[in-house]
């Protein structure tokens, strides 16, 4: 029955599935920004706590955040 | 402050939202979504069943129609065959009758011819016999007349004798 139904739906079903797969990536940008912000914030907090002259962790963690968000992007889009 | 009041979630609303939303979720799950989803599923299966049933029936009809067609064709073929056979038989009988009639006619003719021949032969024989007896009668009469006297008889005897001798020597 389901096979017959799928056949009946045909193109419309295909369009819907495409639309759904587009939705899959809508939150990606925000999530990437969130990752970068979270890392940077973590670094900023560490620097504040440690009170070093040089804001090492802010820089290092924000860079790591960017790399992390890239890795995340690849991982999410690479998923079938 | 304006933005803060907008993005800062208020405790009271979180409290009431969690409480009432979860309550409604559980009530709806039990009293609404379950019957609705079950109803939908049941209807779908029943519709699917009905459709399958109809499809099967349609296929049966097609099969039956095809069967009818085959039967009709068979019947037609049978009729054709029967008619052909009948025709053949008739033709054969006619031709046989013809042959038989001809043979009979021939036989009759032959017999007739033979009969005629026989009759003819018989008639010829009869005629021959008649002629023979008539000849004998005539000869008897002639002889009677000729051999009434002794002298004549003697002459004849002598003559026969003479002939018989001659032939013997």
């Amino acid at each position: 029955m389901s096979a017959a139904k799928r056949q009946d739906e045909g193109d419309l079903g295909q369009v819907r599935r495409n639309y759904n797969s587009y939705l899959r990536y809508t939150g990606l940008g925000f999530t990437m920004i969130g990752i970068i912000l979270a890392f940077t914030f973590g670094g900023w907090w560490l620097d504040k706590e440690l009170a070093w002259k040089f804001p090492l962790f802010t820089i290092a963690l924000s860079l790591l955040g960017i790399i992390g968000s890239m890795v995340y992007l690849f991982k999410e889009t690479g998923r079938p | 402050m304006l933005l803060a009041s907008l993005v800062e979630p208020s405790f009271g609303l979180i409290f009431w939202m969690t409480l009432s939303f979860l309550a409604v979720l559980f009530i709806l799950r039990k009293f609404a979504w379950k019957p609705i989803l079950n109803g939908l599923k049941e209807r779908e299966t029943s519709i699917a069943d009905a459709l399958n049933e109809a499809k099967k029936m349609r296929e049966d009809m097609v099969r039956m129609a095809a069967g009818n067609e085959a039967i009709m064709r068979q019947a037609r073929e049978d009729r054709e065959l029967l008619l052909k056979e009948a025709r053949d038989i008739r033709d054969k009988e006619i031709s046989e009758a013809k042959v038989r009639a001809k043979a009979e006619g021939d036989a009759i003719l032959t017999r007739a011819r033979a009969d005629i021949q026989n009759e003819k032969n018989a008639a010829i024989t009869e005629m021959k016999n008649q002629v023979a007896s008539l000849s004998i009668l005539v000869a008897e009469r002639i002889l009677k007349d000729k051999l009434e006297t002794g002298a004549a008889q003697h002459t004849l005897v002598d003559k026969v004798m003479a002939e018989a001798d001659l032939r013997k020597s």
Binding site: T31, P55, K75, P80 | L13, W16, G39, S46
Partner: protein
């Protein structure tokens, strides 16, 4: 020798750039901070203006668009119906010092009066001392669980959901197997849409049933409240789905469902992605853990921002009529035609958005649930 020197120079250059970059970044950060600060100071100024103008309005009858918009998308104790008529609502306070306090919001007289040591400050209940000044320490003890405009709206919408869907469910049991009628007919395509295009496509044919109640409830709750937010008068008018507390709770429920139902495969992918070298895991695992929280967070922000922005835009166009109407009647009529057209257009758009946002929230929730339930399968990842 040369090459070593060149290398050193390059290294110093790089470090220098980095340092400068960081210094620049810090400056920028300061700038941003200052800008944010400016904004922060500007904002209350405008609110204060709004308040003074609002007060002036009561006296002089001057229209204020900012107040109209903020009243609409904000929350309040008591529900302003029209003119000077306000529906009083119960104020419920849990004071850790004084216990449970329940009284009508009309006691505050629109923020002008103090009642039993409580007062309204920017529509928030605060504790005040005898002199009438805000007592910060006592205010910290107050847990405000009043039935505000948004809470009442929440109850109304939930009651509507209960009435509609229980009656529809009755129709399904009463007329089992028959064609749908009336309300049932209207809602069935949407229910089927949620089932087939949201749950089945995102979670999968075999496991979706367990999550249908939540997905359906969330979908219709968001959809109904989006629609109710478009209605400008009493039962509607509250901006519930554009309220961060509401979207927070919804996103939190999704998060809890995902976290509780996450299988070994899901946790394995978060904590130690299979088939990935150790040093990449060092980055990927924190990122994945962050992503676990960020996903529902984005879900919360998206719904909140979309609905609030839509309301602000629609209300701004609507306000234009009155703003121009105050300068001159002619301009008011002239603008009102265009503005009305725009408002109608925006409302139409909002109707679409109401549906789309409900769909997006439900679908993404379903997708996260689906990801948590996904069984192990061979990955064809070539990237890491």
């Amino acid at each position: 020798m040369m090459s070593l020197k060149a290398l050193l120079r390059l290294a110093s250059l790089l470090i220098g750039t980095l340092l400068m970059g960081s210094a620049y970044a810090q400056d920028e950060g300061h700038d941003h901070g200052e800008i944010a600060h400016d904004h922060a100071e500007e904002a209350p100024a405008t609110v204060a203006d709004a308040h003074t103008i609002a007060h002036a309005e009561q006296g002089g009858g001057k229209f204020n668009a900012g107040k109209l918009i903020m009243d609409h998308i904000g929350d309040e104790h008591g529900w302003h119906l029209w003119g000077h008529t306000t529906l009083p609502l119960p104020v419920i306070l849990f004071d850790t010092q004084r216990g449970l306090q329940v009284f009508s919001s009309s006691r505050f007289e629109h923020g002008h009066a103090t009642y039993e040591g409580y007062a309204l400050n920017e529509s928030e209940v605060v504790a005040v001392n005898a002199a009438g000044n805000v007592d910060e320490a006592a205010t910290a003890n107050i847990w405000d669980i009043s039935i505000t405009k948004n809470v009442l709206s929440l109850f109304i919408s939930l009651a509507i959901l209960l009435v509609i869907f229980i009656s529809v469910a009755k129709a399904y049991t009463r007329r089992a197997g028959q064609a749908p009628t009336g309300m049932q007919n209207l809602l069935e395509p949407i229910i089927l849409f949620v089932r087939d295009d949201v749950a089945k496509s995102a979670i999968g044919e075999h496991k979706y049933q367990k999550y249908m109640p939540y997905l359906l409830t969330a979908f219709f709750f968001i959809f109904l409240n989006n629609l109710m937010g478009l209605v400008p008068f009493f039962p509607g008018g509250a901006n519930l789905t554009g309220n961060i507390a509401v979207t927070l709770v919804l996103a939190l429920i999704t998060f809890v469902i995902v976290t509780i139902n996450g299988n070994k495969n899901y946790w394995g992918h978060i904590l130690a992605m299979p088939g990935v070298p150790k040093w990449v895991l060092l980055i990927l695992t924190p990122v994945e853990i962050l992503g676990m929280f960020l996903k529902p967070f984005v879900l919360m922000i998206r719904l909140f921002a979309n609905i609030t922005a839509g309301h602000i835009i629609a209300l701004s166009f609507f306000s234009l009529i009155f703003v121009f109407g105050e300068t001159s009647a002619g301009a008011g009529y002239g603008v009102s035609v265009m503005s009305l057209a725009f408002t109608v257009f925006m409302t139409m758009l909002e109707l679409l958005v109401a549906f789309i946002q409900a769909y997006v929230f439900t679908f993404l929730s379903a997708m996260y649930i689906g990801a948590a339930l996904e069984e192990h399968h061979e990955h064809k990842e070539s990237i890491i």
